[in-house]
């Protein structure tokens, strides 16, 4: 286990964490403020990536594709809110689960109909397509650093928005007690719409940023969705701060676990069993972590007050 590999894995863990944060932020807000379980958040992430590929095909410019895709993702999120979710706010969580599950089916197959089943690719901007030498013989792709940086910037921006603006205050209040906020005369419907649209945009942004590294294919949002839910449960529903901390923890645990589980196990058991058991244990690590956190703190690490 050399320092070089360890450093790279820490960076990779941060990158995964930042990506998870982008998705979990919208998810935790929607859940916290609107008490709405949105399983369709994963397909919003996927849609962002597909829209970026489509706009890149038209414009040939990454930045243009990014902006257009973000706007389209926002529009799509708002449409979804207006057509489907609006009718379900006062319903049971289970109804949310089924409705958003239906949307997942629809979009996962819809993108297949529109764009085909083959994996697609989004080229990254030339400026960032190189790699930096971190250590002798070890190069790290610049784009991954860009992803980390943009994620951190968004986190700061969100923090600023939530703590220092009126809208942010309303969101925090809504997460604590939505009915009271409505009773105080705030147009809760508009607040919901803003929260939802913004969350959709964040998820889409995550999809766009990760598309140059990962392949764009139907169903790419499903694994990420589960991870995002683990993040908001550990972080505490409705809390941006919780989502940020939990996302980074999960990103690091998952990445470091996957890289070193086999090596650590090799010390205990032979190389061959370690090779088969290692990946299994590594996949389970974040769930074990979640079970542990829930055992000790059943409401998550930073629950929004009033829950």
């Amino acid at each position: 286990m050399s320092t070089a590999i360890f450093l790279v894995q820490v960076l990779n863990g941060l990158q995964l964490g930042v990506l998870l944060f982008l998705i979990a932020a919208g998810l935790t807000l929607v859940f916290g403020v609107m008490d709405f379980i949105n399983l369709a958040h994963g397909v919003q992430y996927m849609l962002g990536a597909y829209l970026a590929v489509a706009f890149y095909g038209i414009t040939g410019n990454f930045l243009a594709a990014l902006v257009l895709a973000l706007l389209a993702a926002l529009a799509f999120g708002l449409v979804l809110e207006f057509v489907v979710f609006r009718h379900l706010y006062d319903r049971d969580h289970l109804d949310h689960v089924i409705a958003t599950f239906g949307i997942i089916l629809f979009l996962n197959h819809g993108v297949k109909v529109v764009w085909g089943a083959a994996p697609l690719s989004l080229p990254m901007p030339d400026m960032f397509s190189g790699s930096v030498a971190l250590m002798e013989g070890l190069r790290y792709p610049v784009w991954r650093l860009v992803v980390i940086a943009s994620g951190l910037m968004i986190a700061i921006l969100l923090y600023g928005l939530v703590t220092h603006t009126r809208i942010g205050m309303l969101v925090r209040a809504g997460a604590a007690n939505a009915r009271m906020v409505s009773a105080l005369g705030v147009d809760i419907r508009r607040l919901f719409m803003i929260v939802f649209g913004f969350g959709a945009m964040l998820a889409g942004f995550g999809g766009i940023m990760i598309a140059p590294i990962l392949s764009v294919e139907p169903g790419m949002g499903d694994t990420v969705l589960i991870l995002a839910f683990v993040v908001i449960v550990i972080g505490g529903v409705g809390s941006i701060r919780g989502a940020f901390v939990a996302a980074l923890i999960i990103g690091l645990v998952d990445t470091l676990g996957r890289s070193f589980a086999v090596d650590i196990l090799r010390l205990i058991m032979g190389p061959s069993p370690a090779r088969t058991v290692g990946p299994a244990i590594a996949s389970m690590l974040i769930y074990l972590l979640m079970a542990l956190v829930l055992y000790v703190r059943p409401a998550g690490l930073f629950p929004a007050k009033g829950r």
Binding site: P119, S131, R139, L214, T255
Partner: protein
Amino acid sequence: MKTLGRTIAATAAFAIAMSAAQAQEKLKIGVVATLSGPPAVIGQQLRNGFNLAVKSLGGKLGGREADVIVADDELKPDVAVTKVKALIDRDRADFVIGPVFSNVLQAILKPVTDEKVFLISPNAGTSNFAGKECNPNFFVTSYQNDQNHEVLGKYAQDSGIKKAFIMAPNYQAGKDALAGFKRYFKGEILDEIYVPLGQLDYSAELSKIAVAKPDAIFVFIPGGMGVNFVKQFRQAGLADKIVFLSAFTVDESTLPAQQDAALGFFGGANWAPDLDNPQNKAFVAAYEKEYGAVPATYAFQAYDAALLIDSAVRQVKGNLTDKDVLRAAFKKADFQSLRGGFKFANNHYPIQDFYLVKVAKRPDGKYQTEIVKKVFENYTDPHAKDCPMK
């Protein structure tokens, strides 16, 4: 007396008409493939290849009009079993073609063959059905899973590569892949890694590869996983220093996404779009015209499956009732395969040539694999000797 005579004559005429009608009756072919989820592109290639063959034969196989019924197994073995039973029982399929994936094959082989219906696999070719569990009603037009990996193992050994780093997903096909490579490569294996199925981010593994400094890597990372790995490998700057050997990782189903990142990477296969014979050239041109994409092995193997059925049904003159006669016709494999020559081994898996292929960009901008050299000639898979069939 007269009425009896007339009845007998009528019955006889009826019987003759019925058997003639059977010969005239549509031939029903069930195609079971994975058509949903990320691997759908492979299932689509399989289905397209088969349909193209039927179309090129004028909608007929062996002189009988063919009715192709497609079923999606959703990569769920238990769903596949129900679908296959629907094809045989409800749709009265005469043959079943498929599947794409090994685990689905494990689930459907017995349900199909127990009903005396022939199962022809244009892709999955597991070792157990090539060896001890070989089945008289099961035929394969693709290959046995180990073979493609052995191609790279032999090439690595022969081309002087001393240190290799090998990687595959953590399931049976992955383990078979690395075992196949090691059967021929006798150099030093720096590390052997199994990644969880579906893993998309290879940053961890890539750092290990960079630090280990092998001469070459051998990977079996199919589908979307392969798209990601290839792109990330190139982004990490490793492509200039390490020879990239692979199986099923850079093929025409993933190249549209991998594009330039995969240029110059090696694969091993029993075919490539540029294989030089007239029927293959016609096939590739027709496929591209019809479907707008370069065909991969999945398509050509399904095409060959259709040709196989055509030849056999023609031999038995459309009469499928005697399964032993039909089986003999299948074993003869008297058709013009797209890969050139075609013969079955005793276990009903093909004896064929294998090539080292390399990714290239065509003048028209599309990507394909191209043959570099032949590595195995008339190669029977290693499990055939365990099969009790003759």
